[in-house]
Amino acid sequence: MIEIRNLKKTFKDGENTTEVLKGIDFVAESGEFVAIMGRSGAGKSTFLYQMSLLDEPTEGEIFIDKRNMGSLTINEKTYFRLSELGYVFQDYALLPEMDALENVALPLLMQDMSEKKAYEEATEALIKVGLGKRLRNLPGQLSGGEQQRVSIARAIAHEPRILFADEPTANLDNESSRIIMDIFKELHEAGQTIIMVTHETEYSKFAGRIIHLDDGRVVKELLVEK
């Protein structure tokens, strides 16, 4: 379970201060698929980055499975991200010098897994996203949709508690987007907690709950009827 209390984020640029998140309270239960929507500049991605420990909130508290994330040191946060969280970025964020298998295996190796086991699990994750035949391809040799699937495989290979996705279909065509969303659907059905930022209403309906952000606040919350 993830619980956010009064989350605020302010950016300072010289004497200018921009308050992007103005006190958000939010709870997501384990196994939930939540879509975060809102117009451009509403603070969706900023909210996701704070929740996923990629950034430090200016104020507020984040609890993951009742553990206060604010009490963790930088190294503890890094390790928490490695072992408990998974990330899918809008631009795939793959390492260009590593092939698909290596990209997926890297976080597993960082968890002190043996090379053999890491590659086995990475292969399994890539097969799960339909890339069993593209294991040794470099990111540059894959289409956008395939790269995003590698990114998903990397995010789920270590079976994270929460999978964070920041506009995972924004750079993809309809067909590829559909494939990605089908993978998310399957993962959710298998019990994966997913928190996804999207601006596409069509894909937000894959989630069980949609929250709308505007001007740094949650303005609407909808349960999706299946």
Binding site: Y49, D55, T78, S83, L95, P96, E97, L106, P107, L109
Partner: protein, 418 residues
């Protein structure tokens, strides 16, 4: 920081970055490291080799491995025949040359000098009586003939003139030092030793980068003996060439144990070196190290720039690595290993070039310095020390920029924000 896990991941990252980096960029960096290594080793090696070449030349062409010479308070080595017998009985000896030395003056053009007011064509020299065959075996003296021919045992009234006594080879005019003009093989000159005058013919001119050779006049020993009236066969210098692999200090000690020290100085070629030569070796080594240090600084800056540019252009990926949970230390180690790789490859190429090409080439084609045939002195211990120095410097130069980039905010790096 340097946990096994971080090193393992650092190696994983570094290997893939190097493997997939631009080949020409990698070659260029290794090339820079190679030249840094060469600069580090060769500059000091040549500077030390310049002096070492002179030392080696003195050993090969004058003192040989062990030299027995006159005590400071004596005019010659007493009991020379007995000493020669002792020397000849040692099995480690390859060849021996005994020399008679006497100061004298030389005069040329004395037949064409028309008045006493005309400045005589004279020079002071050390007259050396040698057994031409024995001397050649020890010092290869015949190799240095630049004009005319070498002496034979029957060459009575014939001499070899050192080139520094001939104006043509040493055109220097200074008070107290003069050289002979109009000298060529076949020309007659007059030798005056302790008032005894002898007219001799110049058979050849000899030139070596060893002053003791180029400033002497060589004649057959029996003739000099008769000029100076030394009938006891006591000589002034005995140069001893040892068989390959024999330690000169062992022979020196054996000779001293035989009591020779009481009547003569017994020295190895290193003992016989003047202190200023030893000081010069140290000075040139220091100078070489100072110049090499500049090379080291240049290499550090190069690696710093290379790694900094690499890290800054990969800032987004460093952010992603941190984002997905790769530790900062592992990322930093990956850059340290990359620096190490460049320095290692440059050093390996440098070592191959040094020991397989440069050193053998310079040994067979010494650099023609005015006072020595310069060689490249690069002892393996010193070279490995410099390799270590290069490694440490480049590792530090690689770590600093990596640290600067890695410590930036993770999200800022991923999003490319400043």
């Amino acid at each position: 920081m340097f946990s096994l896990l971080n090193i393992r991941i650092g190696f994983f990252l570094a290997k893939r970055q190097i493997r997939r980096s631009n080949t020409w960029t990698t070659v260029l960096i290794i090339f820079v490291m190679f030249f840094t290594f060469i600069n580090l080793v060769v500059v000091s090696g040549i500077l030390v080799g310049l002096i070492q070449g002179a030392i080696d030349a003195v050993r090969t062409h004058y003192t040989s491995d062990v030299i027995i010479s006159t005590l400071n308070n004596k005019t010659y080595i007493e009991n020379s025949p007995e000493i020669m017998n002792i020397v000849d009985s040692l099995p480690q000896i390859e060849s021996v040359s005994a020399r008679y030395l006497e100061g004298g003056t030389l005069e040329a053009n004395y037949k064409t000098r028309i008045s006493d007011k005309e400045k005589p064509n004279t020079a002071a020299a050390s007259i050396t009586g040698i057994n031409p065959l024995a001397e050649d075996k020890v010092t290869n003296l015949s190799k240095f003939i630049v004009e005319g021919g070498y002496l034979t045992s029957q060459d009575y009234d014939q001499v070899l003139l050192g080139a520094y006594l001939v104006e043509k080879y040493l055109p220097i005019e200074s008070p107290g030092f003069s050289t002979l003009r109009n000298i060529a093989p076949g020309v007659k000159i007059r030798i005056n030793v302790h008032g005894v005058e002898r007219e001799v013919t110049v058979k050849g001119i000899i030139k070596a980068k060893v002053d003791e050779v180029s400033m002497r006049v060589f004649m057959v020993d029996s003739q000099l003996r008769s000029i100076i009236g030394r009938n006891d066969y006591n000589v002034d210098e005995i140069s001893i060439k040892l068989k390959p692999g024999v330690d000169p200090s062992i022979i020196r000690d054996i000779l001293k144990q035989n009591g020779i020290e009481r009547v003569a100085k017994v020295q190895t070629y290193t003992d016989a070196q003047p202190k200023f030569i030893k000081d010069m070796v140290d000075t040139f080594a220091l100078l070489g190290n100072m110049l090499s240090s500049i090379g080291l600084v240049v290499a550090s800056i190069t690696i710093f720039i290379v790694i900094f540019i690499n890290a800054i252009t990969r800032r987004k990926f460093i952010g992603i690595l941190k984002g997905i949970g790769i530790s900062e230390s592992a990322i930093e180690i990956s850059y340290i290993l990359q620096s190490f790789f460049y320095a290692f490859c440059g050093s390996i190429v440098g070592i191959i070039a040094l020991y397989a090409v440069l050193q053998p080439f310079i040994a067979t084609h010494p650099i023609d310095f005015p006072f020595s045939d310069g060689i490249l002195v690069a002892p393996i211990g010193g070279t490995l020390f410099r390799v270590g120095l290069l490694m440490i410097t480049t590792i530090i130069a690689g770590f600093i920029p990596a640290r600067l980039i890695v410590r930036k905010n993770t999200l800022d790096s991923i999003l490319g924000r400043n």
